[in-house]
Symmetry: C2
Subunit: 281 residues, 2 copies
Amino acid sequence: MSSSNSAARIAAAIEQRFGERINPQAEAPGSNEIARMLEHCTHRKWTDRALTPELLRLLCAAALSAPSKSDLQQTDIVNVVDRAERAAIVATIDDMGWIMDAPVFLVFCGNNRRLRLMSQWQGTPFPNDHLDQFFNAACDAAMIMAAFIQAAEAAGLGCCPVSHVRNHADKVSEVLGLPRWVFPFAGLCVGYPARGNRITPRLPLAVTLHTDRYDESNLREQIARYDARRHMLQPYGRQRDPQRFGKLEQYGWSADKARQYAVEERASFGGYVRRQGFRLD
Amino acid sequence: MSSSNSAARIAAAIEQRFGERINPQAEAPGSNEIARMLEHCTHRKWTDRALTPELLRLLCAAALSAPSKSDLQQTDIVNVVDRAERAAIVATIDDMGWIMDAPVFLVFCGNNRRLRLMSQWQGTPFPNDHLDQFFNAACDAAMIMAAFIQAAEAAGLGCCPVSHVRNHADKVSEVLGLPRWVFPFAGLCVGYPARGNRITPRLPLAVTLHTDRYDESNLREQIARYDARRHMLQPYGRQRDPQRFGKLEQYGWSADKARQYAVEERASFGGYVRRQGFRLD
C-alpha cells in the first residue's frame, strides 16, 4: 500500500468516523498503520482459515509487551481451546451463539494475585487493600487487550471484544479456574474476517478532545447532530424496547444507549469482585 | 525495513523480552508492526522536535477509533497545553519534574457522564448505579490510551504513561475542570525519543499465557528464574527502603514490587471516585 494511498485513506476514514474534512497530508511515518486504526471495525464473521499456534503466541507476546502500570504485569490471557469449555462460557451470555464460530476465543484477565503472593513470599506488609489495586489490574488487562487487537489487525485478523464474560463472572471464573484476586476483564473472538471494514461514526472530536480544560458547552446540540449523522449514514436496524419507550422517527445513538441502560445490566459484578478478594474502598 | 529484517527483530525481541528462543519466521503481514510492538519501551527523554498539531489530532483520532465497550464512547482526552496548568498537575506528583520536558502532555479520562446525561435527556430510567459503570469507563480510557501509544510509536514517537495523576485526583480534576462522573485515568507524555529502545524483560509466557485453565503451578520457581534473568540483564540501580528491609544480594523484580507496595499508595482514590458520583456496589 503506497503512502499517498494511506493519506487518502486517512482523509476518507476521518470524514466517515468523525464527520471532519481534512486535506490528505504528505507521506509520513506510520501512515499505513494510522489509516488501518482509523478504519478499525469489530468483526463477528470469520472465514474458515485457522490461525497458526505460532501466530497466536506471537500476537500474545506483542500484546504483553505493551505498557504495564509500574511494571506490575497484571494481565493473563487464557486461550479457550476446548469446545465444551467455550460453550459453557457462551451459555452464560444471551444471544451470542456466534462466539462459537470464532477460530480463536481468548479471555483477558486482570491479575492482582501475583503481587500479593510476592508480598507474602518477600515477607513484606501489603497496606494497599483498596480500589486502586483492582483498578490497576483491570486497566492493565484493558491495555493489553487493546494492544492485542492492534497486533491482530496488523496481521490481517479481525476481532470482537466480549465484555459479557462479566455478566456471570462467577461461572466464567469457575470454568477458567481463576483463583482469588484474578478476574475476567473481557473475552475476545479472533479470526480472519469474512467481510470488509465498515467504519462506525464516532462522536466528533469537538466533544471528546479538549485543550487544557474539559469543555461540554453545546454538548446536547453536538450529540443531536451526531445522532442525525449516524441515522443518515448507518440507521439502527431495530429500536430497543418500543413497547416500553415508543417508536422514534429518528432513532439515534443517544436514544439507543439510554434505552440500553434503562434496564439493569451487570449489577452483580461488584459482588463478584469482592468475593474474589478485593476491597473497593 | 525489509520483512526478513522484521523476522530477525521479532526473534531477538522475543528472546530479550520473554527469554524464549524462536526461529525467525518467514515474511508475514504485519511483521514490521509486531516487531515494533515487541520492542516497545517507555521514553522519558525527548528531542526538542515538536509534534505538529495536525499529527497530534490525527493520533487522537486513530486512538478514539479503537473498540469502545457497547459503543458507549466513554473516553475524553485533555491536551494540557498551558505550562502553568501542567506545572499544577506535576506539583501533585513527587519526583517527576521531567514531565515538564515532554513536548506533549495528555490526560486520558473516563467519562460515564454523557451516558447519564443522555439518559436524563431521553427521560429513561438509569438503574445502573454500580461498579460496572465505573469499570467500563475506566477500561475504555485504558484501551484508548493503549491505542494512542500504538499510533504514536508507529509515527516514530515515544510515550510515558503517568498513573500518578490519580495520586491527588481531586486536585487534578479541579485543574482540568472535570465534572461529576468524569475522572482522570492516566497522563501521557509524548515526544520524539532522544534515546533508542531498551527492552525490559517480562515474565515468561509460561506464566501469563494459559490454555483452557489458569495455571500457576511452579509460579514461585518461574518468578525466581525471572528475577535472576532480569538481574543478569538489567539489574536495578537501587534497592527500595534498604533501612527497612535490608540490602539483598540479588534484588529482583518481585522484591522491588513487594517493597513498592509495602507502603500505602493511592488509598484516597476510592474516596475521590465516590465523590465524583460513582457507586461501586
